[in-house]
Amino acid sequence: MNPLSLTMKRTAAALLLLGSVAALPEAYAVGTAANTSIQNRATISYSVGGTAQTPIESSPTGNSVPGVNAGTATTFVVDNRVDLTVTEQGAAATVVNPAQLAVVTTFLVTNTGNAAQAYQLTAANVAAGASLFSNTDNSDVANLRVFVDANANGTYEAATDTATAITTLAADAGVRVFIVADVPTTATNLQFANVRLTAATAVNNTPATLLTASTGADNPATVEVVFADGTSAGGDAARNGRGAADDQYAVQSAALTVTKTSAVIRDPLNGTTDPKAIPLSVVEYRVTVANTGSAAASGVTLDDPIPANTAFLQNEYSGATRDVQVTTGTGTVFCIAEVAATDTNGDGCFRPTAATLRVLPSLIGTVAPSGPNSTVTVRFRVTIN
């Protein structure tokens, strides 16, 4: 068996933008808006000595002046109930290729509180071992960034979606947020990288300042901040003004296997009947490239040094006019392997040296992960010296 070398580059599979056209979920009932003044005034009617008296209205401190509007409403101001949800969009992993840049996962941040808020956003890799979409995290992505879907179209656009924090989000409103990352060149087929988006509630229109829950005695003049959020992904505690959710990148790559077999075609004594491998016999090499990965391989170049003690034999195929036969799922093609620095006749194969055969991507085509194009067979013949 002779050494073979294969070079390939990965096909950039179409990036799946998950849930990009799904409508925002229906608004949540978040209740009475913060800073609303709730007013209450009772009225009493009564008689004294059998004579009906003018009704009296209540006041916070007690009113005994009869008559309409003589009382004062007892009031309180509705406080700021901080609540949010962060949800993964699309309910499936984003399929990526090794070395792919700016791969996107999509989240929805929804303000379920009763006042407009800002949010700080952070993206992070999830520790290995976490399961999502029935896949277990076993790798990380690099260069994690987070961007807000500025034009609310659900699609990450580098030129448009540049904000890295949510400046203001009204009660009941939601906005999509993207995690954008790069896949390491070392990523391999069927690796999974979970990522987590965390949103932290900040002062409305001032995302740099995180909101803090009010503590201590009530101040009658201010709207208190009450964190009401529940727990979420990654052990995010309840009532901390934060929410988180996980999404996943699924790495799909081509995995090529190369098999080389040989068969004696004819020998000078027996011809084609039970030929033996003796000097001047003709031997055919069959190199089969198969893709057992998950992504198509394109740009596959096959280099095969002609074994020592043999000589490349020309004009063995296609009516004794061609040197190499390439069989793919779409059919069989032939080429002439001229000795040249480049493929001077432009037919897809040549010999950089007399003893090296090179078959170019133009003949091999894309090696698919399944189906008829998942194997490519290259045949050529030599004579034994």
Binding site: I44, V48, S59, S64, F76, D79, D218, P220
Partner: protein, 167 residues
């Protein structure tokens, strides 16, 4: 949040007491009842022995879903009993009545879904969006009425209380 200042409240009570009891018609500017509405919330406190107890404090932190205890007190500040006492309280529009939370010693408690027709819970009905009539639920109540069976004697205080949840 606006709350009742207990100190001021005590002072105003003292002032009323020191002014003495009014005759029913002695002061045209004053009635015989002093009516007060207080908003409070319930907080759990733990004492030194670790005993937990619920305590009413002036409504401090109220967010959607919070319950507020509304307390209406009617003090007879005259020297004659007040009878046929009826206390009406519209439930704030942003709040919904908590079922079975209305109390009032010696009072018949009635409810209304429109502020005009008052009845006991079993007799109240509302029309839903399709025009069908169904029994009223606590959340449908808009008004509460306490009809006191007994007079409020001079110097006595009647109390009416209910709980409502902020929508």
């Amino acid at each position: 949040m606006k709350t009742v200042d207990p100190a001021r409240l005590a002072l105003s009570c003292l002032a009323l007491l020191s002014a003495g009891a009014w005759a029913a018609d002695a002061d045209a500017r004053r009635g015989c009842i002093e009516l007060k509405t207080v908003a409070e919330t319930e907080v759990e406190t733990v004492d030194a022995q670790g005993q937990r107890s619920l305590k009413l404090v002036p409504a401090a932190t109220v967010v959607p879903g919070s319950q507020v205890v509304w307390t209406v007190t009617a003090a007879n500040v005259c020297d004659k009993p007040a009878d046929k006492v009826v206390i009406d309280n519209p439930i704030p529009a942003q709040m919904s009545f908590v079922p079975d939370s209305a109390v009032g010693a010696g009072a018949d408690i009635l409810f209304s879904t429109d502020g005009r027709q008052f009845a006991g819970p079993a007799a109240l009905v509302v029309r839903d969006a399709t025009g069908a009539v169904r029994p009223a639920r606590a959340a449908d109540y808009t008004h509460i009425r306490w009809s006191l069976r007994n007079p409020i004697a001079p110097g006595q205080v009647a109390m009416a209380r209910y709980r409502a949840e902020l929508k």
